[in-house]
Symmetry: C2
Subunit: 358 residues, 2 copies
DNA sequence: TTGTACGCGTTATCAG
DNA sequence: CTGATAACGCGTACAA
């Protein structure tokens, strides 16, 4: 037992360097344990799990019984090391609050779970810097695909995504230059449509209001659409009230009404970048005794339930949130199973839903 | 150039077993690559990343530069193998739609991301069988903690959670017998409170309506609370209209009004298990020309934005969804850092929010 | 059909 | 402070 360990050759190999380490934790049940319990080799256990057809019926039953008795759960990390497949799809989104993207995740999940994939979540909190960090740490997990909200990333993040060689689905925006796959729509076009609607309804002194932060390119696109179309129609395109550093809440929307009315007293319509703000604004108008839409028209964006039940019901743009997730999932599955992807860039339809508020 | 590399000792071993395998994929950059590029050992690269203080300033800079140049991203799976730490927290929830739990996930994430954990999502689609499968596959990832919605699981799922030895936080319900940690409230108690409110307001012919499926124990608890309290108050406790197989939507809520009125023509108040249903019902009443609350009172559950902006505003029970997530995250962090957990079972407060609808 | 021997990329351990 | 080496648990390749 004395240690003259490590006679590198000569005595060959020799024991002694053994017992090098006994990893701390109370070690989980492994395939080897199951194998021993079933009286077979670890390899047979592996086959029983991944390729049951090639093992003998009786051996299989033996192994399956051992698995159950020992409560064996295969270690995916080890499996990932061996196969280089993680069965993980990563979703990178700004935030899960306010449920804007919750349905997208749900749709995605409904496509991917049955295929055996799990979903790893990454929050950027609407910050591009965070996004880069999140992308980096997510790549470390070796996901087999990535779904990301938006098409606007830091150069580094974009490069990381690109060189990863993974299927990447950008969503909720449209671009001529996607990293890889795309399921989106034009926020600018949607905003243009809303401006036209307001114009057609007779409104001429339009105000745009919303969160347009660095990390929220979708808000920026909507703003650009507003500016472009109001200008084209010969209206004042400069009436913009940004809500920076505010959270996406009814309260924020309500407060904005006062600010906007003092800044643009003659405004006859406000176009909000989100239904949440718009709903808060409608509520505030009621408190102020302003009639909607006679005294002030209000439009939102998103197509949430809230738009429908509001009184007056809210004019909004409906985005097929869940469908975006489903399509993204389908694209990924095609790519992952080497099926030729017919259309790598899918444009989903937004719908202007006229309400009583305009 | 012929390959007689690796003559491990005498002639023994003999080659031949070499070139055993060249894993398919275009192999990613590894620590060894970085090490070579920086002219150090892989171990030093590892230290530079995980324990920068112990490496020489100049060596560190050298390594960091190589990391950047090669765009090296450490492989978490390998790290997990070596350390037995995954830096993953799993969240198991029924569904992300309708945003009920989205804020909980958000709150959890806000606590855990800064601590370097990532979030793995598992959807059960409101089915206990699914839950067990999800638990199993999630355990395979070796998460360091689990947050799960609900306290009602299949015996197997419960056992899996228990023997995993991981910190497990059950949420959104209350129980005397949690698996481990708990952040919840009594759905039954909340329903009782709502019944009392309705009673105090003078309503006597109450109807309970909601989704009470096998996998949704929270709905069941609310129902039990309704039954218990109506009975205690000497009211008819049998007026129950279940919405099975329906999705959580305004439409479902609206349709229920007609069904309920034909089944219980004299009903004077409906208590819905969700604000979504209640909002749909209010909308439907308006269409039918029913006055709320004079002809029919309506109450919801959840405390969503929708309750506040509805006209009439909705009486509801507000659940601190985000706070539940934050508290769960805090509990996990305490456990994971071995800090003594002062209170492993945290009761959060629900609030009855009186509205104009009752 | 089953078993044996690597090797995946990282970190813990121990020797310099 | 740095380097060499042995695990971690599984799947692939090949031999039996």
């Amino acid at each position: 037992m004395l240690l003259h360990d490590e006679p590198p050759d000569g005595g060959q190999k020799d024991k002694v360097t053994r017992k090098r380490r006994r990893r701390t934790s109370p070690r989980r049940v492994t395939m080897a344990d199951v194998a021993k319990a079933a009286g077979v080799s670890a390899q047979t256990v592996s086959r029983t799990i991944n390729n049951p057809d090639v093992v003998n019926e009786d051996v299989r039953l033996l192994v399956e019984d051992a698995i159950r008795r020992l409560n064996f759960v295969p270690n995916f990390a080890a499996s990932q090391m061996a196969t280089n497949r993680s069965r993980i799809i990563a979703v990178i989104l700004p935030s899960l609050s306010a449920s804007i993207f919750a349905n997208t995740v749900q749709g995605l999940s409904s496509m991917l779970l049955p295929a055996g994939y799990q979903i790893l979540l990454g929050h950027t909190h609407y910050s591009n810097e965070q996004e880069e960090a999140v992308v980096r740490s997510i790549l470390g997990r070796g996901p087999e695909g990535i779904v990301i909200i938006g098409t606007t990333h830091t150069p580094n993040a974009r490069q990381l995504l690109q060189i990863s060689g993974l299927p990447v689905v950008e969503t909720w925006e449209w671009t001529r230059d996607p990293v890889d796959l795309l399921v989106g729509y034009s926020n600018e076009g949607a905003a243009v449509e809303m401006v036209r609607h307001l114009y057609a309804k007779g409104y001429r002194r339009l105000v745009f209001s919303g969160v347009v932060e660095a990390g929220d390119a979708r808000g920026q696109s909507r703003l650009r659409g507003f500016q472009a179309e109001t200008a084209r129609l010969g209206l004042d395109a400069s009436r913009i009230h940004l809500l920076e550093g505010c959270d996406l809440s009814l309260k924020t929307g309500g407060a904005s009404v006062d600010a906007i009315r003092s800044r643009y007293p003659d405004a006859d319509a406000i176009f909000y970048s989100s239904d949440i703000f718009a709903a808060g604004a409608v509520q505030q108008c009621r408190k102020l005794g302003l009639r909607v839409p006679e005294d002030l028209a209000i439009a939102g964006f998103g197509g949430f339930d809230i738009a429908e039940i509001l009184i007056p019901s809210l004019t909004t743009i409906r985005i097929p949130s869940r469908q975006i997730g489903e399509l993204a999932g389908r694209l990924l599955l095609s790519k992952l199973t080497k099926v030729a992807v017919e259309a790598p860039h899918i444009r989903v339809d937004y719908t202007l839903v006229p309400g009583e508020s305009t």
